[in-house]
């Protein structure tokens, strides 16, 4: 096809517009382009012959040819399945055929894609790593958001102007989504000096106005988010807020972040390039609601009590301490036995992925056999023996674990806690030999703690000859949050 000029250039541009929006084999492109152009050219010629001027004839030819977005989809369907045309066929041409797209096109595409990616990432994570009910809520929320984002993405590919408006909602969503993820990442890993930690520090320090702490309650990021949303309503207010802190870097970052907020997008050419396909206000509000509510649901899910997971009431832990005395009346050995049983067990406590791959979930138990005699000598000394064994007392099978520590304290990681069976009784016994001279009255109470997946903690304390039932505690004596 030779280089056309004037009205013919418009016809060629129309062909490009159609083909750019379609997904099909590259080797067919030239043939199809020539054929479509030939049709428009002949229509244009007929218009000229009927007395129209060049521009009017071109208008008529373009108008009668059909809407490019519809034709693009039809061309895609001619080569691919309806499923492909509705998914990849929509998304792919929006980025792989630059052509005459305005410069701002890719920036907005990136917003849609990033939102799409963020929602995808979360539902995959929820499905693979969360407990069943939480995963269900999280995935349902993500799918809700997914539908809205996909509709906007598809509309953007079809050059429908309302998708630009929707991107305005997606941008602040992405900003806070990233901040929340960064926060949760830092909180989970207790990161202080890392990219994630710094990003979170930026948000909290410039907006909540105090440095973040690893043991912060969830209220602070929520407060930060609320303040930021309020501040984002006005660039001047946000600047003055940032200026109130002596954080030059923070102010710069705030400016960068706010520059993305669509006050003046400088996207007029992009907007003019798109088609005016208004959608009902209620539908736009509905899609926005789907994005916001849907993406909030996973965070809600994380705070929902999952009935498929056990609680403290589903577990019983007892501690028994037996002291053996020698003929001199001194304590020669201390036997500590912790027995525990489950009324029921967790279902996929670490998500579908761990359930499929097996293992990975561990409970921890901790024994603290500490204390000092009146003369200052430790009750249990490092050089004396300690042996810890475990077994399933119901069927007699051994409980494999590797105790650590030996000077009166043992923190032990149990094997895959998902393998525990409901109704079975498990026992962990530590036998301590003690140095001569320990009188029964000098034996300080011994503490046993059970940490179930860092979800809840049970702890019991007993002295010589005593048995004690463990109670729920917020933090274990020797290990804990």
């Amino acid at each position: 096809m030779s280089e056309p000029a004037g009205a013919q250039a418009r016809l060629a541009a129309q062909v490009e517009s159609i083909l750019n929006g379609a997904a099909f084999r590259k080797r067919d492109r030239d043939d199809l382009a020539e054929e479509l152009y030939g049709h428009l050219w002949q229509r244009w010629q007929d218009g000229l012959a009927s007395g129209l001027d060049e521009e009017a004839a071109a208008d008529q030819a373009i108008r009668s040819f059909g809407q490019p977005a519809r034709l693009s989809r039809d061309v895609t369907l001619a080569y691919h399945s309806r499923l492909y045309a509705s998914t990849i066929g929509v998304l792919l041409p929006t980025v792989v055929t630059p052509s005459e797209k305005p410069r701002a096109y890719f920036a907005v595409w990136l917003v849609h894609f990033a939102t799409f990616f963020a929602v995808t990432g979360l539902w995959v994570r929820a499905l693979m790593e969360w407990t069943p009910v939480r995963a269900g809520i999280g995935v349902a929320g993500c799918l809700l958001a997914y539908l809205a984002v996909f509709a906007a993405f598809a509309a953007y590919g079809a050059r429908q102007r309302w998708a630009l408006g929707f991107a305005r909602i997606e941008l602040p969503f992405l900003f806070w989504w990233g901040a929340l993820l960064a926060w949760s990442g830092m909180a989970a890993e207790q990161l202080e000096a890392s990219v994630v930690g710094l990003l979170v520090a930026f948000v909290v320090m410039t907006v909540a106005q105090t440095p973040p702490r690893a043991d912060d309650s969830p209220g602070r990021p929520a407060l930060a988010a609320a303040r930021s949303l309020a501040a984002a309503r006005s660039l001047a207010a946000a600047r003055s807020l940032a200026a109130g802190r002596s954080l030059a870097a923070g102010r710069s970052l705030v400016r960068v972040a706010l520059s993305f907020i669509p006050r003046d997008w400088r996207l007029r050419s992009l907007s003019a390039w798109m088609y005016d396909r208004p959608i009902p206000r209620r539908l736009l509000a509905g899609l926005s609601g789907m994005l916001i509510v849907g993406s909030a649901l996973p965070f809600v899910a994380l705070n929902v009590a999952d009935p498929t997971q056990i609680g403290p009431a589903d577990m019983q832990v007892q501690l028994s301490v037996a002291c053996t005395t020698s003929s001199s009346g001194d304590v020669s050995a201390i036997d500590v036995t912790a027995s525990f049983s489950f009324k029921r067990t967790d279902l996929w406590p670490n998500g579908l992925m761990r359930a499929l791959s097996g293992g990975g979930t561990t409970d921890q138990i901790a024994l603290a056999v500490e204390g000092a005699r009146p003369n200052g000598i430790p009750m249990i000394t490092p050089q004396l023996t300690q042996a810890t064994t475990g077994r399933d007392a119901t069927d007699g099978s051994p409980l494999a674990f590797a105790p650590t520590g030996g000077d009166g304290m043992a923190v032990t990681a149990l094997p895959d806690s998902a393998s525990f069976k409901a109704g079975h009784h498990y026992e962990v016994t530590s036998n301590y030999s003690v140095a001569p001279g320990l009188r029964p009255g000098d034996v300080t109470p011994i503490t046993f703690g059970y940490d179930h997946l860092e979800r809840f903690y049970l702890q019991a304390t007993a002295g010589c000859g005593q048995t004690s039932t463990a109670q729920r505690v917020s933090k274990l004596y020797v290990i804990g949050p």
Binding site: W41, S64, R70, D74
Partner: protein
């Protein structure tokens, strides 16, 4: 001529393909000619956006029902891609026409035509 038909009877993809096969059963034609002939033969009742004929032609060609070849027309005009029925296309046309007539008879019986 409407750019998009928003209401009224709509041609399905299969029906549109059958009409194109029927036109090509008469003689070789190129896209613009098919659109014009469709409009003329239907006395304007079938008035689709003109561009829609090309995806339909591509689909029929991909399915092996029609074959296309380029023809130079000279005098600075773009080349034209002419289409004609293949043997499979002729069989598909015959089958489609029979199906359509059966359907039409049934529809007429219901509608009282």
């Amino acid at each position: 001529m409407s750019e998009e038909r928003e209401s009224g009877p709509q041609l399905s993809r299969g029906e549109f393909g059958l009409l194109i096969l029927a036109l090509l059963g008469r003689r070789e034609m190129y896209g613009y000619e098919i659109v014009a002939e469709l409009r003329r033969a239907s006395e304007g009742a079938i008035d689709l956006p003109e561009g829609t004929v090309y995806p339909a032609l591509r689909r029929l060609e991909r399915d092996g029902l029609i074959g296309g070849h380029w023809v130079d027309v000279g005098s600075g005009a773009p080349r034209r891609r002419y289409y004609k029925l293949t043997l499979d296309g002729e069989r598909a046309l015959a089958g489609g026409r029979a199906d359509w007539l059966r359907f039409k008879a049934a529809a007429d019986a219901v509608l009282g035509g």
